[in-house]
């Protein structure tokens, strides 16, 4: 017996056996993990159909790139996180469904994201700042954080001076992210007829180049044909690049800051999960974790060591 006590192999084997017993008996332990409740609002206005993004190496529209990124986000979010979906056009956000579990309801959630389409849009206007404010309101009501995906293309353009509309909520109550979708170069936007067929791109005369709903800019009197009453914006055809579109990062950063959200561009940070987890309220949940494999892994290591030690020691024993 004494010799046995000196035998390292015996002890190793005994330890491996004990650990395996442990692996069978160990109960699950409860750990706390952070999950997130998100409301995702996707801009489905015309400018989002501009094809200046890529998905899996192929050219894709901004909307398709946004959908691909969101699908990945749904797959990446920790289970028990919830995600609701809505769309934005005109000046408001429209909730499609309240947040649902990203794991249990993964299949319908994924299909719903795939089915987002610019044809759902109900108006041609795209007042991004107002849409964002409205989305923040809905998110606050749902007690969720907001992910607002847009290219930031305001149509009609903001009034001269670029003053943002007033935000009436409390900045920072809803956290989250404004995600800029689109390339940095200005490119023409596709144009569609009433039946949804693509018929070329927008020209400079097809879109309002200047917002005429507010007071004219202070230097308007220098414009040709200016008349304070009959032509407060001058009489020339407005020149501009509003028919071309790129992701308006500066504008997005400004409106995001106004409501207390962070801002990221899809082309520079395609991994939405880390951007969102660092800018959203975590909700701690308890999850049961199976730690049995840990004990089993130790048992396995001992057992392998038992057999491999002689090989490593390069001692060639005489087998029985």
């Amino acid at each position: 017996m004494r010799e046995r006590l000196d035998d390292a192999r015996f002890w190793t084997l005994l330890a491996a056996t004990a650990l395996t017993c442990l692996a069978i008996l160990l109960p699950r332990v409860t750990l706390t993990r952070d999950v997130y409740d998100l409301l995702v609002i996707v801009d489905i206005t015309g400018s989002m159909t501009t094809r200046d993004m890529s998905v899996a190496g192929k050219p894709a529209s901004r909307l398709d790139a946004a959908k691909a990124a969101l699908e990945r986000l749904v797959a990446d979010l920790p289970c028990q996180s919830r995600l609701g979906l809505g769309v934005f056009t005109e000046r408001r956000s429209f909730l499609l469904f309240n947040p649902i579990d990203v794991c249990a309801d993964f299949a319908p959630l994924e299909t719903a994201i795939q089915n987002l389409d610019w044809r759902m849009a109900w108006e041609g206007d795209s007042m991004v700042a107002k849409g964002l404010y409205h989305a923040v309101e809905i998110a606050a009501d749902l007690k969720a954080d907001l992910v607002f995906v847009t290219d930031g293309h305001e149509a009609p353009p903001l009034p001269s001076g670029g003053a943002l509309p007033e935000f009436e909520g409390t900045p920072g109550k809803v956290l989250g992210l404004v995600i800029g979708a689109g390339g940095t170069d200005k490119v023409p936007m596709p144009k569609y007829d009433d039946d949804g067929n693509e018929i070329g791109t927008y020209g400079p005369m097809d879109v309002p180049q200047e917002n005429h709903s507010g007071p004219p800019p202070p230097d308007a009197h220098l414009r040709p044909g200016y008349h304070p009453k009959w032509a407060p914006f001058g009489s020339d055809v407005p020149q501009g690049e509003e028919h071309l579109s790129s992701v308006k990062s500066e504008h997005l950063a400004a409106i995001a800051a106004r409501v207390g959200l962070a801002h990221a561009d899809l082309i520079t940070s395609p991994d939405l999960l880390s951007a969102i987890t660092s800018n959203a309220h975590p909700r701690p949940v308890e999850v049961a974790v199976d730690i049995r494999p840990l004990a089993a892994a130790l048992a396995l290591a001992l057992l392998v060591a038992l057999y491999a030690a002689p090989l490593i020691a390069r001692r060639i024993p005489i087998g029985i």
Partner: protein
């Protein structure tokens, strides 16, 4: 049963199971010469049992660590139910009460009442596959046909948010039919249209709808949340009044549905109770046999893998305990 591993990478460790076949766990001992010892079958058998026990223990541990499980399956069962598309009007008039004003105090808006009763309906119908579409100025795909009740409830929950301006019934119906089209099972198909008004359906859209309805049988229910004092489905134009779709959209939409030659019923509800009755009636009518799938969750087999490993280890341990140290004869003398 099919098996799966949560972490298939552990299979890379499997060659480790060959170790016991190459090396023994017993203590090597010096023996002057084994040439005189004959190989006897019992010793050979014991040797192999020990090697295999080691290999078995290592393999079982690796599979257990990798999260061995029996794959979840879906089995088909037969029950009563239907494949339903809820087509929900999200126009802003749905935000008003049945009396036609903004809700105040304990009053319930039309959409809130419909939401509460529809949720109840969905919860009570066990085997239905439900899809959700919304329409207002444009049709909106909300949720695909799904058996996930929670998702459908979340979509119905969203219906009493402030809506948009118009009521474009025609395109909404076209979307609902599209969703039914995508599903190829032989189950009974139902479209439940929940709206508080009607609108003129464009000729072109009317023709498209006629063809789509003709293609396959669909049961259509129109839950019309009528505001008190407004024209209803069965209102007849007073003498001298125009009988056109523009003047009386509800009456003409109802006529259009009747002319489709499908199983169609309209429920006109002027208060939450009437909505409840209508929904109960739909629930009673839609009881055709349906095949639905039931998921059998995957079964954790880690514990069993570890138990198998334990058996192998106990055999090795027994061999260890039976080990005898050979003592050289000279020292013993």
């Amino acid at each position: 049963m099919n098996f799966g591993l949560s972490t298939p990478m552990v299979l890379l460790l499997l060659p480790l199971a060959l170790l016991p076949l190459l090396r023994s766990a017993q203590v090597p001992q010096n023996f002057p010469s084994i040439e005189d010892i004959e190989t006897d079958p019992v010793s050979v058998a014991v040797d192999w049992v020990l090697r295999l026990a080691g290999a078995l223990a290592i393999t079982a541990l690796i599979l257990g660590i990798g999260g061995l499980h029996g794959l979840g399956r879906t089995i088909e069962k037969t029950g009563e139910g239907a494949h339903i598309v809820l087509l929900i009007d999200r126009s802003s008039s749905m935000d008003n009460t049945f009396a036609g004003r903004a809700p105040e105090g304990g009053e319930e808006s039309k959409s809130a009442a419909a939401r509460r009763l529809l949720k109840d309906f969905i919860l009570r119908r066990q085997h239905d596959l439900v899809g959700v579409a919304a329409f207002s100025t444009s049709p909106m795909h909300v949720l695909p046909m799904t058996e996930h009740k929670e998702a459908v409830l979340a979509a119905v929950d969203a219906m009493d948010r402030p809506g948009l301006a118009f009521t474009n019934v025609g395109r909404g119906l076209a979307l609902a039919l599209d969703m039914q089209e995508a599903d190829t099972s032989p189950a009974a198909r139902v479209v439940v249209l929940v709206s508080d008004g009607a609108a003129v359906i464009d000729r072109k859209v009317q023709d498209a709808l006629r063809t789509a309805f003709a293609r396959r049988p669909i049961n259509l229910y129109w839950l019309f949340l009528r505001t008190e004092g407004t024209p209803g489905i069965s209102s007849v134009p007073a003498p001298g009044e125009e009988d056109t779709p523009q003047a009386m959209p509800e009456r003409h939409l109802d006529r259009f549905f009747k002319s489709l030659g499908i199983s169609y019923r309209a429920f006109e509800a002027e208060n939450p109770e009437a909505v409840g009755h209508a929904i109960a009636e739909i629930s009673k009518l839609e009881r055709s046999p349906i095949t639905y799938t039931e998921r059998i969750p995957h079964e954790d087999l880690k514990g069993r893998a570890f138990a198998v490993a334990l058996v192998g280890l106990l055999i090795l341990l027994a061999a260890k305990l039976a080990e005898v140290r050979l003592v050289p004869a000279t020292e013993g003398a």
